[in-house]
Amino acid sequence: MKYTLLQFNIPDLNRTFVSGAENYGLSHIINGNINMLKEIEKDYGTIVKKWSEVFELDIEIINSFIATESGGKNRPANKFGATGPMQMTVNAVAESVVKWKAVVKSNLPTEAINFLNKKASFLTKLTSEILTATNKTKVKVLLTDEEFNIMIGCLYLRWLIERFKFFNKVMVAYNAGPYNSTLLSYGKQNVSSEALVINKSIPIESRNYIVKMLGVNGFMDLMLKNKLA
């Protein structure tokens, strides 16, 4: 093992995601979610397996992130610029690549460097996270490529894990950004998922994210219960 060992509970909080008519506890929604997770495995299985080994992230984790972020669809950029299966943004790409060594305390994996050199060699030579307009456009186009999107999503996820150490905090950081003031106010200490989801100063979307991933009948729960990976 090269990186931090992730340890967490499934489910981590005694809640089920509910929003309007969407209730993750209802059997038809459970079946729909299981089918979605199966589709994700079918569509992206090979790519996810490859990058899960490089970044030491379990397939269950990556598939659940894809399910929560995009429902398994390679979506075009939304109004925040979040693109593709892992809803990555240009800023997140540049920042995680530039600050990888400072946070993870090791070089980027060779497979990742080779892949980036093949797709966008300027990324491995970056010294600042602020990209030029041309490079920004190049990254925007690259993010619509499924493999680039998932690879960079895994890279970003590993970068966040090394930075925040606890899985529930990583979810808030992935959704609300690593500079969310409430998240930073917790410092290095462990916080229960229940405390995070009832903290109104964290955006509601990020709190729902935790319930969708770590709640009862959440994506991680379904992946493990039904042995979907």
Binding site: L6, Q7, F8, I10, P11, D12, N14, N23, D58, K200
Partner: protein, 57 residues
């Protein structure tokens, strides 16, 4: 004589290491810890039904 003593000690050490590792894995298994390839997950069973309502906004 010395050789057989060395062998005995080695075997006892290996045996003890195997027993303690086995014990550790058994403890993990019975306390509901599932090892995935790169993470350790504790499977939790809640006694009460989950809260099924939207989060406070």
């Amino acid at each position: 004589m010395n050789k057989s003593k060395f062998l005995k000690v080695t075997l006892v050490i290996i045996g003890l290491a195997a027993i303690s590792y086995g014990g550790f894995r058994a403890y993990e298994y019975f306390s509901g810890i599932q090892r995935l390839e790169y993470s350790k997950i504790r499977i939790v069973e809640f006694e009460t039904p989950p809260i099924a309502e939207p989060l406070p906004e």
